[in-house]
């Protein structure tokens, strides 16, 4: 267990997954103060889109048959589509509502999506054989790392770099940052709220789809509850990172993933079943030390 390269890759790949999910939540929180608890269901929805809707026990691939070059953009687009659709159907009508009301409606939306999936696919988890070759380990720096882990780490870095470029260099990014800082002021200065918010939802949904593809490849199963755990960790990451801060969400996502792997590796056996209890104790300590989060979003700072 003293193989640090192995630990590093295990930690970075889990952290990367959490970081991507956290980014999806932070993006929407940034522009409309909404913690979207339906994010986990977007993930499950994208996984189930790979197979034919049926309550039979044996799953038949639907979109999953497509070659990767088509499948990846297709699933990302599908994730973006369901996020945009839910914004149109639900959150657009609640834009002036209390953040608590929005949060509760996101729970309700998640419930609707989950039960729709249950109705269409049944309650039994399904097997998905998506790119099994990606789980083949390769040797790097004395560690055996499944190819997928490397892809996850690289993808996370690419996504973060891409988002940073989008936010810094493009007009939409500028508008999103402006909206995140002061939504009313941004609108007064001509930023179109609908464009910015739709853009944020699309990006968030695409990130959920990326998480879905990674989870489906890693675990080989589709289950209606599979987004729940990732969603919870991602939400906590956005809180630790500082609500609304995108770099904070990414950093905290990596941090939680790394802490989880380290705890699993070094806790004594009797304490290992309580890994998550230790993890969340660390989260509490973290919030006691920095209640505003590790990175404070500019919009959250007092202005005077």
């Amino acid at each position: 267990m003293t193989n640090f390269a192995q630990l590093f890759f295990d930690a970075a790949s889990l952290g990367g997954l959490y970081a991507m999910a956290a980014l999806g939540i932070a993006l929407i929180f940034g522009v409309m103060n909404l913690v979207n608890f339906a994010h986990g269901e977007y993930i499950a929805f994208c996984v189930f889109a790979l197979i034919v809707p049926s309550t039979d026990a044996v799953a038949v691939m639907l979109l999953g048959r497509a070659p990767a070059l088509i499948l990846v953009p297709l699933i990302l687009a599908l994730g973006a589509a369901i996020a945009i659709a839910s914004e149109h159907a639900v959150f657009r009508h609640l834009r002036r509502a209390d953040p608590v009301a929005m949060m509760i409606s996101s729970f309700a939306l998640g419930f609707v999506i989950r039960n729709a999936l249950l109705a269409a696919y049944g309650g039994r988890p399904k097997a998905i054989s998506l790119w099994p070759d990606l789980n083949t380990p390769v040797r790097i720096a004395g560690a055996e790392v499944p190819l997928l882990q490397l892809i996850v780490i690289l993808t996370t870095l690419l996504v973060v770099a891409g988002l940073a470029a989008l936010l810094k260099k493009t007009r939409l990014g500028l508008e999103m940052r402006a909206a995140a800082e002061n939504f009313t002021m941004a609108r007064l200065l001509g930023v179109k709220a609908n464009v910015v918010i739709t853009g944020a939802f699309a990006l968030s949904g695409a990130l959920a789809a990326a998480v879905a593809l990674i989870m489906a490849t890693q675990t080989g199963v589709a289950d209606v509850r599979m987004g729940g755990q990732v969603m919870l960790v991602a939400f906590i990451a956005t809180v630790i990172g500082g609500l609304g801060s995108l770099p904070g969400a990414v950093a905290a996502g990596f941090l939680i993933g790394a802490a989880s792997v380290l705890l699993q590796a070094f806790l004594p056996l009797d304490a290992r079943p309580f890994r998550d209890a230790f993890l969340y104790t660390l989260v509490i300590v973290c919030l006691l030390v920095r209640p505003q989060g590790l990175f404070v979003a500019a919009s959250a700072k007092p202005r005077v």
Partner: protein, 389 residues
């Protein structure tokens, strides 16, 4: 209005008496994720009911059933239990899982009624957790783990074992308890390591790193988990190049998840009967055919079988007691020692309303194809203090 109210009250009172039928109440999940597990077992119970009715019924009366949906929810489970009692249930069948079945079973217990968990495999789902009239139709998880330990030692010369426990539900702990009780008793064996994970862990990379750090690959890995976590763990273990024989509990039976690990080999599951058409007992295949006739497809896993077994045992006990009274039927059930069923002998005692030993079919998956390789009954029943530990 008064005479009318009186008359309708009389009519309501008269209904149960007028209906000569015996009523079985199903308080089970008809929606939510548990539905996928409850429906097959409940269907099997109904197949047995139809057979009994076709053979002249029970105590000369026909059996009918009423149903209420627990919606895979603990609160709704209690309500569903009360609902089937209100609808005149004489015995109650509750959800597969202890957590979701117990609230309904407790309402049956309060009425002094016999209740059966469809397929609970935790010792709590019985006298210990519900009360003296509560039973389970399945085989304890610990028996499955002990069966795996003894069989793999005897038939595959397993000397070193690794225990990988998914701590999410009690069932998993039960399997590992059985393995941990049996394996060290066998000659020349050693448990070389153990680790835990959670069913919904996005990755078990660190657990795999720990197995790979062992000086030698263990002969067997006892994986105490259920689908989807088990399928995900197996995919990751095999992808990492670990080729140990993987032992499991019955919960991973069924070929429906095998796509998760294409061409899987060296994967063993103990079951009460084979769904693959190769069970050595013709009664099992006859049931599979009856199930296919009733539903249009063969059972997806062996978890349909306990539903058939429990209805069979309960109806025999009622026949012997000559009454539907809960306590009298329980007494008859507790007299059963090696009672023959289509899926092997079953026993109950006044201490344990579960099977602490059972004939199990060993299913091995080779190149993605599951098949019966042997049957195995553990040499000693799992002791009660091990179960309650």
């Amino acid at each position: 209005m008064k005479p009318l109210a009186f008359a309708s009250a009389l009519a309501v009172l008269a209904l149960p008496a007028a209906a000569e039928d015996i009523t079985v109440g199903f308080a089970i999940a008809q929606s939510g994720w548990m539905e996928a597990y409850d429906t097959p077992a409940a269907t099997a119970a109904k197949i047995r009911i139809e057979e009994i009715n076709a053979n002249g019924g029970l105590l000369g009366r026909k059996i009918r059933w009423v149903e209420a949906d627990t919606k895979t929810d603990r609160q709704q489970s209690a309500r569903a239990g009360l609902q089937v009692i209100d609808e005149g249930a004489d015995m109650m069948v509750v959800s597969c899982d202890y957590d979701f079945g117990a609230p309904a079973a407790l309402s049956a217990e309060a009425e002094g009624m016999v209740s059966f968990f469809l397929c609970a495999e935790d010792v709590k789902a019985g006298i210990q957790g519900v009360g003296p009239n509560s039973f389970s139709g399945s085989v304890l998880a610990a028996v499955q783990g002990a069966t795996m330990a003894e069989w793999s030692h005897a038939k595959r010369d397993a000397k070193t074992g690794y225990v990988l426990l998914d701590t999410t539900i009690e069932y998993n702990k039960g399997i590992c308890t059985g393995f941990d009780w049996m394996f060290p008793q066998l000659e020349g064996t050693e448990i070389v390591g153990r680790d835990t994970f959670k069913n919904d862990d996005a990755s078990i990379a660190s657990q795999i790193t720990r197995i790979k750090a062992l000086p030698e690959e263990p002969d067997v890995i006892m994986l105490c988990s259920y689908i989807p976590g088990a399928a995900s763990a197996v995919r990751q273990i095999r992808a990492a190049g670990i080729n140990s024989l993987i032992l499991n509990g019955s919960a991973v039976d069924g070929s429906y998840w095998l796509d998760a690990t294409p061409d899987l080999s060296g994967f063993v599951v103990p079951v009460q009967g084979s769904i693959y058409g190769d069970d050595p007992r013709p009664e099992v295949e006859a049931f599979n055919a009856a199930y296919e006739k009733a539903t249009g497809s063969r059972p997806a896993s062996s978890y349909a079988y306990p539903g058939y077994v429990l209805m069979d045992l309960w109806s025999k006990a009622v026949e012997r007691a000559g009454t539907l009274d809960g306590n009298a039927v329980t007494t008859e059930l507790e007299k059963m020692k090696g009672e023959q069923t289509a899926f092997g002998p079953r026993s109950f005692t006044n201490e344990l309303h579960h099977q602490n030993s059972a004939e199990m079919q060993i299913i091995e998956i080779q190149n993605g194809k599951p098949a019966v390789v042997e049957n195995w009954t553990i040499s000693n029943p799992v002791p009660l203090d091990v179960l309650l530990n």
